[in-house]
């Protein structure tokens, strides 16, 4: 069964450091999402890509967060500098085609900022 791959699975960093997360969606999935899930809460959308273009980044803290999907396949989410409040699970999801409702999530990257 095809999966959304994410790495690293776990990251511990000190505040003010830079961190990066990588996501490889299911092959052929044009839409890619980055969600943040704070412990005990539901996932919240950070950024959405359609191919290589950003569709929605209204909830992305752009002063410290950036995301790219240069070739419309895999994607990187970066945080610089990391803050204590960034500790969360960062989930990547992909969707087969526009109009399809089913999102397939990866296992996530858990970030702990000390």
């Amino acid at each position: 069964e095809a999966e959304v791959a994410q790495s690293p699975r776990y990251k511990i960093t000190e505040k003010s450091q830079a961190v990066a997360f990588w996501c490889d969606p299911i092959s052929g999935h044009a839409t890619l999402y980055w969600y943040r899930q704070i412990l005990g809460q539901g996932p919240e959308l950070l950024v959405q890509f359609q191919d290589e273009s950003v569709v929605d980044d209204s909830q992305l803290p752009k002063d410290r967060f950036s995301a790219e999907r240069l070739k419309g396949v895999d994607s990187t989410l970066k945080i610089q500098p990391a803050e204590l409040g960034d500790s969360a699970m960062y989930l990547c999801a992909s969707r087969r085609e526009a109009g399809a409702n089913v999102l397939t999530f990866g296992a996530g990257s858990r970030l702990t900022v000390l």
């Binding site: 539901g42 959308l45 959405q48 989930l91 399809a100 409702n101 089913v102 296992a107």
Partner: protein, 113 residues
């Protein structure tokens, strides 16, 4: 602004019992209501979904009941099993091509043997 409210936060059910999780939404533009199941260390996975043109959808032991006038929907897990122990999220999305999901806060279900 939280657009999807979920309750209870946690739930303990005996094996064989019925688990019920409720969600309420505010935006009447929502037209797709999925439930996701998440096991520890894993990402959420789609469990079952409904659109507002039907009042109920059943898949095996899982049923969604939908009340459009009350803007509420619920997940019923019949004959709950220890393997159902997980966190459940309701979600909603608007029409259009974005597929953006707005999630509830989650319910941690524990099914005791």
């Amino acid at each position: 602004q939280q657009q999807v409210k979920q309750s209870p936060q946690s739930l303990i059910v005996q094996k064989g019992g019925i688990s019920i999780i409720n969600c309420a939404y505010e935006n009447t533009a929502f037209d797709y209501f999925p439930w996701y199941q998440q096991f520890p260390g894993k990402g959420p996975a789609l469990l079952i979904a409904i659109r507002p043109d039907v009042s109920e959808k059943k898949e095996g032991r899982f049923t969604i009941s939908f009340n459009k006038s009350a803007k509420q929907f619920s997940l019923h897990i019949m004959d709950s099993q220890p393997g159902d122990s997980a966190t459940y999220f309701c979600a909603a999305s608007k029409p259009g091509n974005t597929g953006k999901l707005i999630f509830g806060q989650g319910t941690t279900l524990q099914v005791k043997p």
